[in-house]
Amino acid sequence: MRRQNYRTRAVILSVLLLVILMAIYLSGIFITEDMILGSFLEAKLPPDFQHFFGTDALGRDLFLRTLKGLSVSITIGLAASFISGIIAVLVGIGVACGSKKTEEAITWVIDLFMGIPHIVLIMLISFALGRGFWGVLIGISFTHWCGLARVIRAEVLQLKSEPYVAISKKLGKSGSWIMVHHMLPHLTGQILVGLILMFPHAVLHEASLSFLGFGLSPEQPAIGIILAESMRYLSTGMWWMAVLPGLLLVILVLLIDKLGHLLRIIWDPYSSQG
């Protein structure tokens, strides 16, 4: 078979990754509460063919629980990075096109947000909002936009100094026309990749927040909760409760990260060959 070029391979691989991610997400949706409901007779079983990941202290199937938890994580990750993305785009473009004063003020706010450790800030926001799904979602959304906003600001500033943007202005085009036709096509790639690379961050933060007890409530099948529960049994040698769900989380995050890098290759006009 003819060796495909770099870009085609990136497209194929990213479609494959998307399918896997969708599969995890959908399987989580179709797993109902009573499928996870276990019996105490089957508690603390190591992995076998009936229970791929073994069972937990209450006899619930860990594989199903993990999938369900990951699907919740993906929902929160998606929503949070989407909201963060919108904030980042608005702030980034606003800063780059606004006056000197607004630029200084917003840059200061960004520095402030970035100066505080993420997890502490998310904990505070989530706690103030009464934890749970919305607490976590808003906590993560409002803390992850800073990096991307900075990138977009720098990008817009750079684009504004490009000769073809200046020429466009002298050809009688308005500021908004230039924003839509000249700048946004350059930014979409950055925004998309930024969003996708924000996604694993959001997932991991959701997991750690739930793990620490400031996130989703204990009865929810969140990956952080599963890991937190497993800590109690780890010392008695029940490794599967922590290792297997943890591994799946890491794989998920790596897959998304890979997807982000692939999309960067696809979007970047200079990487079509190679």
Partner: protein
């Protein structure tokens, strides 16, 4: 209706000395003025000022005794030295021309722009080919004055000759005022009706 610069002063930073100090120039309609000067004399700065890309610190630029417009198509168009920077790398060349308006077939043929080029990206064409598009775009904007800032420095002689022939023809036809900036004395003598030499 001449294009005039009166007592221009310009510098990029506050502490610097003047790049342009009390600079005056007057270009009549249909005139082809060549500025011949070594590097660092502010030729490009003057071009940017006249085409409205920079604002003078003091002095004024007048077209028909009037201030130039702030909005809309600028009546003084500048062709840059580096065509690859003057064209959006994400746009197909068709869109580059359509940014100005309807594509005039005759002009493209005269400039030696081939049909298939229109569907390519800028990265797929050479500097000379791109410069033809920049010339076409500037002419399509129907300016009263055209400033050519070393537009043929990096082109081979055949391309140079072809591009200049089109510009001179169009200038003749439309009574364009040209300001040509170059290092090349032979070119200056060939295309200019008046040569301003700075030393």
């Amino acid at each position: 209706m001449p294009l005039e610069a009166k007592n221009l002063y310009f510098k990029f930073q506050k502490q610097e000395s003047w790049i342009l100090e009390d600079c005056n120039i007057r270009i009549e309609q249909g005139e082809r003025v060549v500025i011949l000067a070594p590097s660092g004399y502010g030729k490009t700065t003057l071009a940017l000022l006249l085409a409205g890309y920079l604002k003078p610190d003091k002095g004024q630029i007048l077209l028909e005794e009037k201030q130039l417009p702030k909005e809309g198509i600028y009546p003084v168009q500048l062709i840059f030295q580096h065509p690859e920077k003057a064209i959006n790398p994400r746009w197909k060349l068709k869109k580059v021309l359509e940014e100005v308006g309807e594509i005039p077939e005759g002009l493209l043929t005269a400039l030696g722009i081939e049909k298939p080029w229109l569907d390519r990206f800028p990265g797929e064409l050479s500097g000379g080919e791109l410069q033809r598009f920049c010339v076409a775009r500037a002419l399509m904007a129907e300016p009263g004055y055209l400033i050519c800032d070393e537009i043929s420095t990096m082109l081979d002689t055949i391309t140079q000759a072809q591009i200049w022939q089109v510009i001179l023809e169009e200038a003749e036809k439309r009574k364009l005022g040209l300001l040509i900036i170059t290092h090349n004395r032979h070119l200056a003598e060939k295309v200019g009706s008046r040569i301003v030499e700075l030393e």
